[in-house]
Amino acid sequence: MNAIPVLSAAIWVPIAFGAFLLAFGNDRNAATVRVIALVGAILGFLVTIPLFTGFERGTAEMQFVEQLPWIELLGASYLLGVDGLSVWFVLLTAFITIIVVVAGWEVIESRVHQYMAAFLILSGLMIGVFSALDGLLFYVFFEATLIPMYIIIGVWGGPNRVYAAFKFFLYTLLGSLLTLVSLVYLYLMSGSFSIIEWHMLPLSMKEQTLIFVAFLVAFAVKVPMWPVHTWLPDAHVEAPTGGSVVLAAIMLKLGAYGFLRFSLPIAPDASQELAGFMITLSLIAVVYIGLVALVQTDMKKLVAYSSIAHMGFVTLGFFIFNQMGVQGAIVQMISHGFVSGAMFLCIGVLYDRLHSRNIADYGGVANTMPKFAALFMLFAMANAGLPATSGFVGEFFVILGAVQFNFWVAALAATTLIFGAAYSLWMYKRVIFGEVANDHVAGLGDLSRREFGMLVVMAVMVLIMGLYPKPVTDMTDASVDALLRHVAASKVR
């Protein structure tokens, strides 16, 4: 028990700021709105610092636990807590929120207060998802994130935004509605909504399988896994830059986190049983989607497909059930948060100038935007998994884990290093190098101080994680270990 409710603060500070902006902002005081939004985002990040400094390493117990009665009638409580599996995502979310506010600073001109409010509220809700230890509370946060994202894509998105927003919402809702039924079922079996109690609940193989499948639909859509990934390229392409960043950096992790918190520990036997199936889907994502990314002509689409391939790596890591695999998957998730977020920021920088995402419209950008080209290079390399960047660590761990599991799985997974390099660097080459392609490119101005600042911060994070990932693995170690031991022990009734 902690004296200061750190997690509650992390959830409600951004939401409170968001609500404040919604109430008092309007188009006339946009400048003030931006400042208040930034203050809210920074404050929201500062309150999460104790999670890093005060986190007790070496234990798999839930920490920073808060419990308040909520809906006693239904046995649901306001129960929050983090362990090694979730703590990094809380930090990541709060961090990315600052970047997103900065990224939308001058770019968003209409209804600034609603834009900023949507992101701040979304940030609080996502932290809620990562820290909820009560099934109903988790579901409320999980679903509620759809509302601000739907608005963000639909209001500030590209030409085809309406289609993308609907597809995003309905696709995700489809998955979560089945989850709702299985949450209700688990509640009726256990008499409680506590996720920790659900972990201990013995279930027959048939029950486990059905629950696993219901969760799978929800989380697979969110991750997204092949073949339910089709909403993601649409959503990414149409969303404004900030929306793409949040989608790639955090929202995809909601699904992957769901596997760790729900599927694996609640239905361990079914997870073991269906691991082959999951590995197959993951490998298809890695190989097939990697190839699909290669042929994209739209930069955002390319990064979107590369996200799917990278997330395939994550799910692969989960279902080979060894320390290396799961550990690597978590590192990969955090790293992907920074790398893909930064990639979308870079594309946003170009898009703000030329209003085109077509690779063919660019060429020779290095001549006019040298600072940008250097930073973009780093992120493209990280996306390809170059050693010394964060992208390498996670992929390497997962491949090591996969070798322990089965050589051929590892071999197929390792093709990502080739495809990743191919699509990232080829795109980089076509956009950045060569002769100046046209007058528009010739007229490009280099990064403004705001853009430079936010990209440098991201670059620093990518490098730190690549060179010294120990702080991350230290904090996740014990929890991953406990999870794997839990999954190995059967709980068939």
Binding site: L74, L177, L180, V181
Partner: protein
């Protein structure tokens, strides 16, 4: 049963309401054009009824008129909510009615009369009283629907409403007569007793039950008895639509509860399958047809039909293999659903009224285009209401769906629950479309919306409640479950 006492004091809310209506009518006699006191007069009458309701005990069950009228926690809760719903409707509709030159006195007194009818239905413990209350309510509503007699559309809707409503009442009355034939009594608690002791003629009784269920389905608007709902919702002026769509649903729940759960729980094997068919059909037809609607009120009508499907799911999930132990919780969850539904509906139609001006009805979906730019506050309230209807947390509508799903799963009908949630995915589409029009599209009509302060206040409170009850739904769920538990004596 206190046969000897009349217990007039128990009926104080009804009596005050009736006296208030009479005073309203008399004060208007001869000067219908005068707008004396505005909506305040009617609100005063409602406040009196409310004051009389509040002291009623929420833990004991008492009867009046020799057991024909019952006052228990359920009746108290439903009457309180009905008063609030009608009060909110009156405030929201005051300018709408003025703009359309609806005679205020007639409108208010008819609305209050229909509320009186609802009170009688809610407290009915005898089939005849049920019918009395139902007719009092329905006749007032028919008259309300026809109040704009210079409008062809409105008159057409009123005629449809009257003919089909009368048919439904006929069904119900016919069913009651058969129940009387089968059970030999019209008192609801005696019917329950005779069902238990097996003194009923099962064949006649079952036939009567079919008519009763059909009549109830008519009043609720469950498929296949739903055809009047879209036409009436679309055709009547919005203020009247709200009076028809809001509080009467609470009263319809009350009589369904008194008849099926209190009186005929013993005959569950007969009514459970009927409700199942009605529920599934309503969910399918309501949700699928709503997608194709261009008229906002018609879309909401079909959405109502689908919501009724959910309510029926809750009602039917109470009895599992003859074991009625879960009945209280199941009906309680239905009650919670209908309460949230009524208040979301009040807000939704309230928004439609505020967007309408003299000579212009904001009826089609296109009228909502770009509302966020014209009036961000109203758009935000409508957004909350739409997501609540779609059952997306953290809005209260989510918990309504949630506890119904819980009730259905605990009755062992998991596949029915999966079916219901899949259809709410379909539903999400047309609610999302409303949000899309308000937020994503540019306005076709850039005139700002300037609602009267009182109406804006009611709407803001309504929107805030949808969100607040979504964050902390415990008390209201508890109140609904307790009321039903106590009424069922379990």
């Amino acid at each position: 049963m206190a046969e000897q006492s009349f217990n007039l004091m128990l009926l104080l809310p009804e009596i005050l309401l009736l006296v208030g209506i009479c005073v309203l009518l008399i004060s208007d006699a001869g000067n219908a054009r005068r707008r004396f006191g505005g909506t305040l007069r009617a609100l005063l009458v409602l406040a009196l009824a409310l004051l009389a309701l509040i002291p009623q005990s929420s833990t004991t069950t008492e009867t009046a008129f020799g057991g024909m009228v019952i006052v228990d926690s359920l009746s108290r809760l439903l009457k309180l909510l009905a008063v609030i719903a009608v009060g909110a409707t009156l405030v929201l509709s005051s300018r709408y009615c003025d703009d359309r030159e609806v005679a205020r006195g007639e409108f208010q007194s008819l609305a209050l009369l229909s509320l009186l009818g609802q009170f009688v239905m809610i407290s009915a413990n005898h089939l005849l009283v049920v019918y009395l209350g139902l007719e009092l309510m329905s006749l007032s509503l028919y008259a309300l629907a026809a109040l704009r007699r210079d409008s062809g559309q409105s008159s057409e809707a009123a005629i449809k409403y009257f003919v089909l409503g009368a048919l439904a009442s006929g069904f119900l009355l016919y069913g009651m007569s058969m129940i009387y034939g089968g059970a030999g009594t019209l008192a609801i608690d005696e019917i329950a007793g005779r069902l238990v002791s097996g003194e009923v003629d099962n064949w006649v009784f079952a036939l009567g039950l079919v008519f009763i269920v059909a009549g109830l389905a008519f009043k609720f608007g469950a498929v296949p008895f739903h055809m009047w709902i879209p036409d009436v919702y679309q055709g009547t002026p919005t203020a009247m639509t709200l009076l028809i769509a809001g509080a009467p649903k609470l009263a319809a729940f009350a009589i369904a509860f008194r008849l099926l759960a209190e009186g005929m729980l013993g005959a569950w094997a007969d009514w459970q399958p009927m409700l199942l068919v009605l529920a599934v059909a309503s969910l399918v037809v309501g949700n699928v047809v709503a997608i194709a609607q261009q008229n906002l009120k018609r879309m909401l009508a079909y959405s109502t039909i689908s919501q009724v499907g959910f309510v029926l799911l809750g009602m039917l999930s109470g009895v599992v293999d003859g074991d009625a132990a879960g009945a209280a919780d199941a009906w309680g969850s239905s009650l919670f659903y209908i309460v949230t539904y009524v208040f979301t509906t009040v807000g939704t139609f309230g928004v439609i009224m505020l967007l309408s001006r003299a000579g212009f009805e904001a009826e089609t979906l296109d009228d909502l285009r770009g509302l966020n730019q014209r009036s961000p506050w109203i758009a935000l309230v409508m957004l909350l209401l739409m997501f609540s209807l779609a059952g997306i947390p953290p809005m209260v509508g989510f918990y309504a769906k949630f506890i119904i799903i819980g009730s259905v799963v605990s009755a062992g009908m998991t596949w029915l629950a999966v079916f219901a949630v899949m259809l709410s995915l379909v539903a999400a589409f047309y609610y999302l479309r409303v949000v899309k029009l308000m937020y994503f599209d540019a306005p076709a009509d850039s005139s700002p919306v300037a609602p009267p302060t009182s109406a804006a206040l009611v709407l803001a409170v309504n929107g805030a409640m949808v969100l607040l009850l979504g964050l902390l739904p415990g008390p209201l769920i508890g109140a609904c479950l307790d009321a039903v538990r106590q009424a069922l004596g379990s």
